[in-house]
């Protein structure tokens, strides 16, 4: 039995120390997935809180039909989606106010030499349809194998590959259109 499964079973018995160990094991994974999706620190923290509260309450209901990490990734994706949808639902209440410009998102983990390019990447990732965005983040940012992405999203491997293909094509087109003059050397 894996360590994470043992910990989860202890959490199901109400063991708070086991819960803390589980948090230490998965908090960065959860936080980074959330951060890549919601693109701001406060929302990523809120998602992380919701995920682990959910893990604590649902530990006894984990059936063991997937790996613990897969289950936690799934909860994270759903929590991040839920938060974005909630924000969009209440955004209409702010009509009449000047549209707030979303600041460029800088992921704190990006290497210094890649920061500007990463900013551009996250901007266009944010415009992808939900499923393409999830597949792209899990695959290219979290670095999950494609089968694992399929397990998290509860779709087939073929569907994941199709989403990634469409997502990358879409990103290239958007980058081409958004920054047509970038990369050209000044004469």
């Amino acid at each position: 039995m894996s360590e994470s499964l043992q910990l989860l079973q202890s959490v199901a018995d109400g063991n708070r120390k086991a819960f803390q160990q589980l948090y230490e094991m998965f908090s960065e994974q959860v936080y980074n997935t959330a951060l890549s999706y919601v693109q701001n620190v406060e929302d990523a923290e809120e998602v992380t809180q919701d995920v682990f509260t959910n893990v604590f309450r649902s530990a006894a209901r984990f059936k063991g039909d997937s790996q613990v990490s897969t289950w936690i990734y799934r909860i994270t994706v759903n929590a991040a989606l839920g938060l974005i949808r909630k924000r969009k639902r209440f955004a209409f209440l702010k009509f009449g106010e000047a549209e707030k410009e979303v600041p460029d998102f800088e992921h704190p983990g990006i290497l210094l030499e890649n920061k500007e390019n990463a900013k551009a990447l996250f901007q266009v990732i944010d415009t992808l349809p939900e499923t393409q965005k999830i597949a792209f983040i899990l695959s290219f940012i979290e670095g999950l194998p494609r089968q694992e992405v399929a397990n998290v999203m509860e779709i087939s491997l073929k569907s994941v590959e199709a989403l990634l293909q469409r997502g990358k094509r879409s990103l290239r087109m958007k980058l081409e259109n958004s920054y047509p003059n970038r990369g050209k050397k000044k004469r």
């Binding site: 936080y31 809180q49 983990g109 290497l111 551009a120 081409e176 990369g183």
Partner: protein
Amino acid sequence: MRENKQWIEDVLKSTQGMRRAKPRPDLFVKIEEQIQGVEAKIIPFRRLQIAAAAAVLLMVLNITALSQYTNYIEGEEQELTEMEQSEQSLISNFNLYE
């Protein structure tokens, strides 16, 4: 055009080598507080059962007490009526001159 395509490739590869960001150290404390807040709101079912049983018992006791009090009062009234009646008959017995 080639430079543009190179730039696009660079952008798509810009997450290579990235490290995972860490959540702030006190986030776990906030999570524990959130869990405790949820636990405090959930009243254990056993406690509800005991509270309901106590309420029923109290109601039964009150009804019994009220019923006994009502019976007592009725009894008192009955006695009073009988006394009044017997007094009247006594008084009528004293009416010697009829």
